[in-house]
């Protein structure tokens, strides 16, 4: 069996098992910046976590995380959350992202929570909030649109 996001059997199986680690194995940039999925202590869904590694620093004076790395983290979170939350196994392709930076992101663990605001037949809208010490003080919020691609049946 060929393993990849476009293989519907593989996507169905990993999705049913909630095997986000199998998905992360195919996303080298997300691994490089240190993204992982963690269980949400307040609910049934997932939160996402960005490791505070030195390679993610964008401002050595403060120091602070690179805003683009925080954005890449939030895009990864939105994509994986959508793959889990969608009605059926679909492969999201990003259309656009808009991110607001609210506070300096320190070199500390960062968490993100996603909300699927709309899942249409072809398009999805996902909202992401990222925070460090307290969820009530987000470091950034983002909204993203994705096209939901049909999987190849005979990949």
């Amino acid at each position: 069996m060929f393993e990849g996001f476009h293989d519907v059997a593989w996507l169905e199986k990993t999705r049913a098992e909630g095997d986000v680690a199998a998905w992360m194995a195919l996303i080298p940039y997300a691994r490089r910046i240190g993204v992982s999925a963690v269980t949400d202590p307040q609910g049934e869904g997932l939160l996402f976590r960005l490791d505070p590694r030195d390679g993610n620093v964008g401002n050595v004076l403060l120091p602070a995380l690179h805003g683009g790395v925080v954005a890449a983290f939030m895009e990864t979170a939105a994509t994986l959350d959508l793959m889990l939350a969608a009605r059926e196994p679909r492969l999201p392709r990003i259309v656009d992202v808009s991110i607001d930076y609210l506070r300096t992101a320190r070199v500390e663990p960062t968490l993100a929570r996603c909300r699927l605001l709309r899942e249409g037949r072809r398009l999805a809208n996902v909202q992401v909030s990222a925070w460090q010490r307290s969820e009530t003080e987000p470091v950034a919020t983002a909204r993203l649109h994705f096209v939901l691609e049909a999987c190849e049946q005979n990949a």
């Binding site: 996001f5 195919l26 996303i27």
Partner: protein, 162 residues
């Protein structure tokens, strides 16, 4: 700031090599013609967002646009100031593919007392087939909130110890 394009190219090279994330990825400042910059990110397998299909992670393009637009801000100001990103919007025109460098051209469009407005475009050859477009707004923190020697460090003759 009255510096030659070559001096700006060296200064902004210093800027992106002091940033750990872009230094480790080998981001290069190719040319600077204030208030416009041209950057090049060499290919690296860690840029992938889908190994099976060989597609670049969308977040790489966001990171590149943030860095390039932020670089254009420095050369658009009367004197370089620390300017954090206020917000950033990226449109993905087509997927970027494995194995080719990513180019990004960014420029500052307008400098006000409190803000700098910028835009940027990312492509893989040729430039006429862009993969992503971004617009980013930056906040001017002003001289009072910029560390003393910030501009001088950019233009120093020796590489700063990092």
């Amino acid at each position: 700031m009255t510096a030659t394009p070559e001096a700006w190219q060296r200064a902004l090279t210093r800027f992106v090599t002091v940033i750990p994330h872009t230094r480790e990825l080998g981001l290069e400042v190719v040319t600077v013609a204030p208030p416009e910059v041209l950057l090049r990110l060499p290919w690296h397998d860690d840029l992938l967002g889908d190994t099976a299909r060989g597609l670049v992670h969308g977040g790489v393009l966001t990171m590149l646009l943030d860095t390039a637009c932020g670089s254009s801000v420095l050369c658009a100001l009367p004197v370089p100031e620390v300017c954090p990103t206020l917000d950033l919007r990226v449109d993905h025109y087509r997927p970027a593919v494995a194995g080719q460098p990513l180019w990004v051209r960014a420029r500052s469009l307008r400098v006000t007392a409190s803000m700098v407005f910028t835009e940027g475009m990312v492509w893989q050859e040729p430039e006429e087939r862009p993969v992503a477009r971004g617009i980013a707004n930056f906040v001017r923190l002003g001289a009072r909130n910029t560390p003393p020697g910030f501009a001088e460090a950019l233009f120093a003759e020796e590489q700063p110890h990092v």
